[in-house]
Amino acid sequence: MASSTSAVASDKGLWDGGTSPMGVSYGKLMMWFFLLSDAFTFSALLITYGLVRSSHKAFTGHVSDFVFSQNYWPVPERVYEAVPFLHGVELPLVFVGIMTFILIMSSVTMVLAVEAGHRMDRKAVEKWMLWTILGGIAFLSCQAWEWMHFIHGSEAGSAVAEGTTFFGANLVHNQYGPPDFAAFFFFITGFHGFHVFSGVCLNFLIYFNTVTGLYQRRGHYEMVEKVGLYWHFVDLVWVFVFTFFYLV
């Protein structure tokens, strides 16, 4: 076997076939390039956000004096300050922080599932995949609550035109700031949330195939690695969304 491989390699160069020049399987390589293209899509969304936000006036006063207005871009920490079951308590960014923590933890359990797959430890893969799925569902539930709160709005409301009070947000108006603000919230967190949702579906598929012993029969757990790459990417995107949308 070894001699036949070297025979192929000797009369053909590294890029002439017969070997994998990038040292990974076809599937894994394509997953990497898909993620690169996906990174371009998310970058486009975040960069457009940067363009539109920097073309609007910024609020210049002290954060504690901030009020919602159509005239300047809102300060994010004054928009996202609600936490479930703590009605009326101002806890800026705490809920988003919890969501970030959940996603990081599910990334850790995913990498532990991949590690277990390398050792052919079916029971451990099952355990860690379940935790990862649970983390994904927890994140999606948090996001559902956050969207609900964002759409319904706070008691304060704000005037979108003279003599009106508008509560919450839709794609045309929102109480927090210029219309673009809510549009970007829906598109960026929505597009990311959709990725989390597809990630949970893929994770479940992997879990199902592990439980039925498909990968054991196949002799390797490479599918766990490929879907793991996707899941880490979802976490990676959230790290950027967290900074550019919620912190800055």
Binding site: P21, A39, S43, G97, M105, A116, G213
Partner: protein, 108 residues
Amino acid sequence: MDHLDENAHITVIPPNKEKIKKLWRVAGILGIVTAVEFVIAFTLPHGPGKTFLFVALTIVKAGYIVLEFMHLKYEVKILFWSILIPMIFVVWMLVAFVYEGMAISVVR
């Protein structure tokens, strides 16, 4: 008994404690950096310096996720660079468009 036969020829390798400890250490770093970002958000005044700090900490987090969790650090060099080099264009695009946006706000 099919199930047993299936498992008979599979040898489960025991976990490498060192490797797993390293993964949890990376997780700890990610958690700590997020906590630091949180503290900065409520202590430092708004301004370019704060934004720069946030971006720097985000790149640290992204680095740990891509290099350790996604294992890119241990892949062949050509794969490593074919993923990283295209991202340079993204960084340029970000700088160019934010600059453009600030120019628009002046004109408005």
